[in-house]
Symmetry: D3
Subunit: 62 residues, 6 copies
């Protein structure tokens, strides 16, 4: 605890994901006073044809 | 805002998904009085072996 | 199936929520060819102090 | 109703997943007094590079 | 790991919830071969006016 | 995009939550190269009787 889910488009590389979970864990640990050992981060990726804003999928706007 | 997630079995084609996000966005916009530009739709697909009703996965009932 | 979750700010009235689930169910049924009886809608509400865009909670911007 | 989501690392085989949904459905049915027919289980799998504890992804710790 | 979310209507008492998390944890532990110490269960409750099947909220059908 | 959900126990004060969303947004923006304006953070709180580790709810272990 806490449990953090980051939902984003596919396409980030391993270095970016490694930095992402490290930095998010620090940010949560320092602000809500939780030990790092208890913090869990999940990454969820979505393809462009499964994400829509204003009724248009990202895959249909390019 | 609002954020809508549609979770369903794999297998719909691109035309169905395009219509789905368009129609759902309209339905939400008109009923809760939110501008379309602020409405986000996520599609999540699941395979038949990851979905169970009454203790039986769909992949085990066919 | 499908399962739809609508996440939005608190404050809509019962009439709006009743229309929301009815219209969203129709939109999903007609576009992905699912019988209405199988469609489930969940509403999730969040307060303004639990929702942030660009690092600012909605409760801090008013 | 109820709806149960089991999120876990990739790698379980079909026999394990079949037993998982069957046993979880029984556990829920017997404790909260819900008919099995109404219980839905979703399995969600995540890869090791999308799951982090203490700021380290599982894929970076092996 | 695994992380289990049980989403259900409001109204179960503390004894039922206590038994629910205990029995679900056992079911998961024994079927996917995970130590109990690593298993996390979240309960999420929803009110009857936030849950709809076939376009009708449960609060509108009684 | 990205969308971040932070799930944690009830009890943090407004100052902690304000800092949390600000710092998490920065951490995500800088590591995955997303403009802050596109980043959304949701906070979800859970009570101690809805959270269990190893089959015991937090409310039953104190």
């Amino acid at each position: 605890m806490p449990y953090i889910t980051v939902k984003m488009l596919e396409g980030r590389n391993e270095e970016q994901k490694r930095a992402l979970v490290e930095r998010v864990t620090e940010a949560v640990s320092e602000t809500v006073n939780a030990p790092k050992e208890n913090i869990v981060v999940f990454i969820e990726e979505m393809p462009k044809n499964h994400y829509a804003v204003a009724g248009k999928r990202l895959s249909d706007t390019e």
